[in-house]
C-alpha cells in the first residue's frame, strides 16, 4: 500500500522519497540539537527541533533535503529549526547537489522563538536566491497537515518550483488568524471547504501558484520532484519581470472574485463546483487544457 504523504512523519517522507537507504542526515537526533528556549515555556522539545536535513539520492542523483515535522509545534520555525535549514542551503551553494528539496509542513514562525524564526526565514530566502542564481533548483513539496503558512508561504514563493497535493495549503495568514482579526464574516475558518478552495492545492495549481499537482502519496511527490528538478526557471530579471506580469494579470483578471470557484470559471473550467471532487488524474487533465497555469514565471 502506498504511503500517504499527509499521514507520514517528516522522517518517513524523507526515507520513502529518496532512493532506498540513500538518506544521510546532518546533525541527527542523536546530536540532540534541541531548542534552548522551549523549556522556558514549559514546553517539550524534540531531538531534531522538528526538521530533518540531509543528503540523499533521487534516481541516483544527489539531492539535499529538508523536511519539516508538522506535528511538532506545528512545524514552526524556531531558532534551531531555522538554522538547520539555513545551514543546509548554505552547504548546497558550495557542495552543488543537483537540487534541494524542501518538504514544507509549517504554520510559520514559532512564537516562543519568534525573532529567531523570523530572521531565519529571511536568511532562508536569501540562501534560496543564492542557490537559484548558482543554477541549483530548489523545489518545494507541500502536502502536510500543517500546510505551508506564514513565512513558510513566502519561502514557498521563493522556490524554483512547487508541487502540492490536495491536502496541502499555501497561504500567509491562516484562516484562524484572519477570522480572529477580521471576523467570521471575512473568513469562516470552520468552513473547511472554503478554506481549501481559498488556499488548498487545487486552487494554487489552477491559479498558477504551484507547478505540479500530486496524489497524496510519496510516490507521486517523488515523481513530481524528479519532473520539476528538470525544469527550473532561471533566477534573473527576465523571470521576475515575467512573474510581475503574471501576478498583475491575475489581479486584473480575478481581483473582483469573491470565491475561488469564480476564478476557476473565468479560467475556463466548465464545472467549478465539481473541482474539489476531481481525482488527481482528472484534475491534471483539466489543468492541461487551461492556459496560463503552467509557466516559468517564478
Amino acid at each position: 500500500m502506498s504511503l500517504s504523504w499527509y499521514e507520514a512523519s517528516a522522517r518517513q517522507r524523507v526515507a520513502a522519497l529518496v532512493d532506498a537507504e540513500s538518506f544521510e542526515e546532518f546533525v541527527g537526533p542523536e546530536q540532540r540539537a534541541m531548542s534552548p528556549h522551549l523549556p522556558l515555556f514549559d514546553l517539550p522539545r524534540a531531538f531534531d527541533d522538528g526538521i530533518v536535513v540531509g543528503r540523499g539520492r533521487l534516481d541516483g542523483r544527489t539531492v539535499y533535503l529538508a523536511a519539516q515535522e508538522g506535528r511538532f509545534m506545528g512545524g514552526a520555525f524556531g531558532e534551531v529549526h531555522g538554522a538547520k535549514l539555513v545551514g543546509l542551503l548554505r552547504a548546497a551553494v558550495t557542495e552543488t547537489p543537483e537540487a534541494v528539496l524542501i518538504l514544507f509542513d509549517t504554520g510559520g514562525v514559532r512564537l516562543q522563538e519568534a525573532n529567531a524564526g523570523e530572521t531565519a526565514i529571511a536568511e532562508t530566502m536569501r540562501a534560496i536566491a543564492d542557490l537559484r542564481r548558482a543554477g541549483i533548483p530548489v523545489v518545494g513539496l507541500v502536502g502536510g497537515r500543517a500546510g505551508c503558512f506564514g513565512g513558510g508561504g513566502l519561502i514557498a514563493g521563493t522556490c524554483s518550483r512547487l508541487a502540492v497535493s490536495e491536502g496541502g495549503r499555501i497561504s500567509v495568514s491562516g484562516p484562524e488568524v484572519i477570522e480572529t482579526n477580521k471576523g467570521a464574516e471575512e473568513f469562516d475558518s470552520k468552513d473547511r471547504a472554503l478554506v481549501w478552495r481559498t488556499m488548498g492545492g487545487k486552487h494554487r495549481r489552477l491559479a498558477g501558484g504551484a507547478d505540479r499537482f500530486c496524489d497524496d502519496t510519496v510516490e507521486a511527490f517523488r515523481a513530481a520532484a524528479l519532473d520539476l528538478i528538470g525544469r527550473a526557471p532561471a533566477f534573473d530579471l527576465a523571470t521576475l519581470e515575467a512573474e510581475q506580469a503574471r501576478l498583475e494579470d491575475r489581479i486584473a483578471r480575478f481581483g473582483d472574485c469573491r470565491d475561488a470557484t469564480e476564478i476557476w470559471a473565468r479560467l475556463g473550467v466548465n464545472d467549478p463546483a465539481g473541482v474539489p471532487a476531481l481525482s488527481a488524474a482528472d484534475f491534471d487533465g483539466l489543468v492541461a487544457g487551461l492556459e496560463g497555469t503552467t509557466h516559468d514565471a517564478r
Partner: protein, 237 residues
C-alpha cells in the same frame, strides 16, 4: 522620526519620493549618485497590490542598469489579512517583492532597509528583512506578533510573558530584541544627517549573510550560527 523628516535628512537638496496609499516610491540624490527609494509608510498593511507596486519599482531600477542602490523605508503593519489577498496569492506577491530585492542586490544594486516605525510578520520579511543591510531608527518597533496575541496563542498569562520578555530577547517584540537577534545591523543616530550614515553602509556592505553571527555575538540568537555551521560541516564531511 517621521517619513518627511527622514527624507529631509537624507536628501537635503530635495527628492522625488512620493507616498500614495501608504506606499513609498521615488528617488533622490545621495552623495553624487541616485538612490532608489521604495517602502511602506503609516503603519499600512501590505497586500497584493502594494507588494506588486513596490516590486515593479525595484525591477524598474534593475532594468535601468547601473548600480543604483535601493533604500527600503518601512513603517508598516503586518501583511494585509483578508480572504481576498490569500485567494489571489499573497504569498507569491510578498515573495516576489522579496525576490526583486534579492535580485537587485545580487545584480549590483546594494539594498538597504531602514525601519523607522512598525513592521510585522510577512510584511517585515518581504521588505526590510529582504535587504542586504537592515538598519533602524530609535523608536522603531518591529515585531512578529504583539505580546497580547502571543499570550492568546501560547495560553500563557500576559504578565508572565512580559516578565520573560525582559530576559529573553528571542521572542519579545521590539527593536532591541531584533538588534540582538542580528536582524537589525545597527541603529542610526537621528541627531546626525542620515545621508552620510546610509552612504557609509552602502559603501561597506557585508559580503555574506552575517545575521546569525551577529545574533550569536549579541546574545539574541545564541545557537543559530553554530547549528548552521555544524550542518555545513556535516555536509562537507
Amino acid at each position: 522620526m517621521t517619513l518627511a523628516e527622514i527624507l529631509a535628512s537624507l536628501f537635503p537638496v530635495g527628492h522625488a519620493v512620493a507616498v500614495a496609499d501608504g506606499l513609498i516610491t521615488g528617488r533622490g540624490p545621495l552623495e553624487n549618485r541616485d538612490l532608489a527609494v521604495v517602502g511602506v509608510d503609516g503603519d499600512t498593511p501590505l497586500g497584493i497590490e502594494g507588494a506588486l507596486a513596490l516590486s515593479a519599482a525595484v525591477l524598474a531600477t534593475v532594468r535601468a542598469g547601473g548600480a543604483t542602490p535601493v533604500l527600503v523605508l518601512v513603517d508598516s503593519d503586518s501583511q494585509r489579512m483578508s480572504r481576498r489577498d490569500e485567494l489571489l496569492g499573497l504569498n507569491e506577491c510578498l515573495a516576489h517583492l522579496a525576490k526583486a530585492l534579492l535580485l537587485a542586490d545580487a545584480q549590483g544594486h546594494p539594498t538597504i532597509g531602514l525601519i523607522y516605525g512598525h513592521s510585522a510578520a510577512g510584511a517585515f520579511i518581504a521588505t526590510a528583512l529582504a535587504t542586504r543591510v537592515l538598519v533602524a531608527l530609535p523608536g522603531a518597533n518591529p515585531s512578529v506578533m504583539d505580546l497580547p496575541s502571543v499570550a492568546r496563542v501560547t495560553k500563557l498569562p500576559l504578565e508572565k510573558l512580559e516578565a520573560m520578555a525582559k530576559s529573553t530577547p528571542v521572542f519579545a517584540p521590539g527593536l532591541d530584541n531584533m538588534v540582538q537577534a542580528g536582524a537589525v545591523q545597527v541603529v542610526l543616530d537621528p541627531a546626525k544627517p542620515l545621508g552620510p550614515q546610509i552612504a557609509a553602509l552602502i559603501g561597506e556592505p557585508p559580503s555574506h549573510d552575517a545575521r546569525d553571527a551577529l545574533g550569536k555575538d549579541r546574545g539574541g540568537r545564541p545557537v543559530a550560527h553554530d547549528i548552521a555551521a555544524r550542518v555545513v560541516d556535516a555536509a562537507r564531511a
